[in-house]
């Protein structure tokens, strides 16, 4: 509770950009045990991210939205939850997906344009990737309401960004969750840019976390590039949610080091100097520094992390390079439980076209 601060522009931080602990970590000794694992997942996320961009450049993927720079926020959040807690991501959550153990194949094929949403998500209690901004926040609240009825101690997390906080659906979701005291966490990765629109053009609020006050919701602003701060904030929010104390808004202050997507050119709207200043606050480098200075580092960690990451990159390439397309007749399979007569006749029409093409 002591770390949940309302309407505060300061943020919660445990490890600063130089890898120095700014708060006592003894409050959770187990952190030093899990930190190496988090480090490995962050490294994997960074590397898979790079491989996705390579694959897009090689014409194997249609598009990819890089999460470079946001690995601390994502892994910090995902690692603080139970495997059964439902997650409602947007589309820039590679760190969350990898932490949950979603096969890179299913993520890569979605960006290749093989099918929408992503394969292998639901069995990991992760909703398909959601592209209309902020819409999935309402799904998270509905699922949280359901968790309460099921009494399964489940917590749901809505992953949204700074841009999404301007959307009507996010307002409706936060208000509903607060009114119903739903076990839901709104994890806002404030990466400063919504494509080309900076935060200052998105909101006049003193901070995104401060919006929690208006909803009657606990809120906290954390250093989003500090994996420990994100982990602690989400752990505490989840504990509150599980004990019936309702939702929490977490603003993780971070930065999108890459382009919005592979189709975007950020040099049109932001200065290199800004990017450079955030590169100095890299979430991965600071964990390594901290582990080194606190005596938890050993080179095997790096070797193992890089080996896992290389394996994932290899797996991704194997899965998506020249991957076959599904049959276009599948268009008609998932509209309804049973296709209507119209859909059946349209399926036959396409089948005939395909046959003519040979």
């Amino acid at each position: 509770m002591d770390t949940l601060i309302e309407n505060n522009l300061q943020f919660l931080q445990f490890i600063d950009e130089n890898g120095v602990a700014t708060r006592a970590l003894e409050r959770d000794k187990s952190l030093s045990n899990v930190l190496p694992g988090m480090y490995a997942t962050m490294v994997a996320a960074r590397q898979v991210d790079e491989e996705m961009i390579n694959l897009q450049r090689q014409g194997q993927l249609a598009l990819y939205p890089s999460a470079r720079g946001q690995e601390g926020a994502q892994v910090g959040c995902a690692s603080a939850l139970r495997e059964t807690d439902w997650l409602f991501p947007q589309y820039r959550e590679i760190g969350v997906f990898l932490h949950r153990g979603i096969d890179v194949r299913g993520i890569g094929l979605a960006w290749r344009g093989t099918w929408h949403g992503g394969d292998g998500f639901l069995e990991r209690a992760v909703a398909p990737m959601s592209i209309p901004i902020g819409t999935q926040a309402l799904h998270a609240v509905g699922a949280a309401m359901a968790s309460k009825w099921l009494a399964d101690e489940g917590v749901t997390v809505a992953f949204i960004g700074d841009g999404a906080t301007s959307e009507g659906d996010v307002h409706e979701a936060m208000n509903l969750a607060a009114v119903k005291k739903s076990p839901c966490i709104f994890f806002v990765q404030n990466n400063q840019w919504a494509i080309s629109t900076p935060l200052a053009d998105q909101t006049a609020a003193p901070s995104l976390a401060s919006k929690g006050v208006g909803y009657g919701m606990s809120a906290v602003r954390v250093d989003g590039n500090d994996v420990v701060a994100c982990h602690v904030a989400v752990s505490e929010a989840a504990a509150r949610a599980r004990s019936g104390q309702g939702p929490t808004l977490i603003e993780a202050v971070t930065y999108r080091l890459g382009a919005h997507t592979t189709a975007d050119d950020p040099s049109r709207y932001r200065d290199d100097a800004e990017v450079t200043s955030w590169e100095a606050r890299d979430p991965i480098a600071r964990v390594k520094k901290f582990l080194e200075t606190s005596g938890h580092w050993h080179d095997d960690l790096e070797v193992a992390a890089l080996a896992t990451a290389a394996e994932l990159r290899h797996r991704l390439r194997e899965a998506v390079v020249d991957a076959p397309d599904p049959s276009p007749l599948e268009f008609f399979d998932h509209v309804f439980t049973q296709p209507t007569a119209e859909l059946e006749s349209q399926r036959q029409l396409l089948a005939a076209e395909l046959e003519l093409e040979g």
């Binding site: 819409t135 609240v141 509903l176 007569a341």
Partner: protein, 328 residues
């Protein structure tokens, strides 16, 4: 056997569905404490408790969006949008998620959600309370669209809709809310996707649905008395799936068809029925498919709606026009 109003019949269907299936939850604006602005949900919260029937903040997108989350967790939500004109704030959730979730999850996730919407005009409502929205949903792949015309049909079709694993937009014609009909609890009529011939005839096929079925039957009675025309009245009941076979059988018999709906004419159901008829029944037609519909204008103020809405006169004028096509 009881004579129930459509309001009572829908209430009975909700109550029976909640009794049968614990995963059915009913919610919306003013549905619990007040029992709904039309009293459709009266008594459900008292009977089934706060977790099964509850009020929502005034936020339509939240009503549909949260229903989607509940469905993901295995519930069978039956949300209410208070009036037709207020479905628009929820349009994105309906079009981008409710309709597409099965497809986005490649068939893994069903959306067994029935969205009830008191709909259409004819009761002198203020602005935004009399909209015909059906074409929007029909044109959005992945939604079933059901429009009952009477109390017993509403009871049966609503139970079918709630049991259906596909999302259903259930449009209740407000002007028929207080019309009574015998409703036998626990029995079902024709399933979703089956049209019903409400009156048989040989002169012209009148294809309609919802609140205009009763108007068409009245027009058919007058037409027979005054002109000796025998109109066949078809109640579509569901627009998706569309039972075109029943329509086609009728057109083959009469050779003439008038589509009768409240909503604006352009790209309404009349356009689709006409297109299908000329594609599939060209040589069976004695006349082009004609339409008796609302106008391509915003819905008028209440005091003028009777002049805007297609009624007996507009339908019979259109029937007369159809009959004027005569092969020489």
């Amino acid at each position: 056997m009881a004579q129930l109003t459509m309001v009572e019949a829908i209430n009975a269907a909700l109550s029976d569905a909640m009794q049968t299936d614990e995963q059915v939850v009913v919610f919306g604006q003013d549905v619990a404490r007040q029992g709904g602005v039309f009293r459709v949900t009266e008594g459900l919260q008292e009977r089934f408790g706060d977790n099964r029937c509850f009020d929502m903040p005034l936020a339509e997108s939240a009503i549909i969006g949260s229903a989607i989350g509940m469905a993901i967790r295995g519930f069978r939500p039956v949300p209410e949008i208070q009036f037709d004109g207020f479905t628009f704030p929820a349009f994105e959730q309906i079009a981008s998620h409710l309709a597409k979730y099965r497809n986005r999850s490649r068939g893994l996730l069903a959306m067994p959600i029935t969205v009830r919407v008191p709909s259409f005009g004819g009761i002198g409502s203020p602005e935004h309370h009399s909209e015909s929205t059906e074409t929007l949903w029909v044109h959005t792949a992945g939604l079933k669209v059901v429009v009952p015309s009477s109390a017993a049909d509403a009871y049966s079709l609503l139970l079918d809709s709630i049991e259906c694993d596909d999302p259903v937009i259930f449009l209740e014609p407000k002007r028929r809310y207080w019309a009574r009909e015998e409703v036998v609890r626990g029995t079902r009529r024709e399933p979703i996707g089956r049209a019903v011939v409400r009156r048989t005839g040989t002169t012209v096929s009148v294809v309609t649905y919802g609140g205009l079925v009763a108007v068409a039957l009245e027009a058919a009675r007058i037409a027979e008395e005054q002109h000796g025309w025998h109109l066949e009245v078809i109640d579509l009941r569901s627009l998706v799936p569309l039972d075109f076979d029943t329509v086609a059988t009728s057109i083959i018999k009469t050779g003439r068809c008038v589509v009768f709906h409240e909503g604006p004419r352009t790209l309404g159901m009349g356009a689709e029925i006409a297109a299908r008829a000329q594609e599939e029944l060209f040589w069976n037609m004695e006349a082009p498919v004609l339409r008796a519909t609302g106008f391509d204008t915003p819905y008028p103020p209440g005091r003028l709606e009777h002049l805007w809405l297609p009624g007996v006169d507009r339908l019979l004028d259109t029937v007369k026009q159809s009959l004027s096509y005569d092969r020489i």
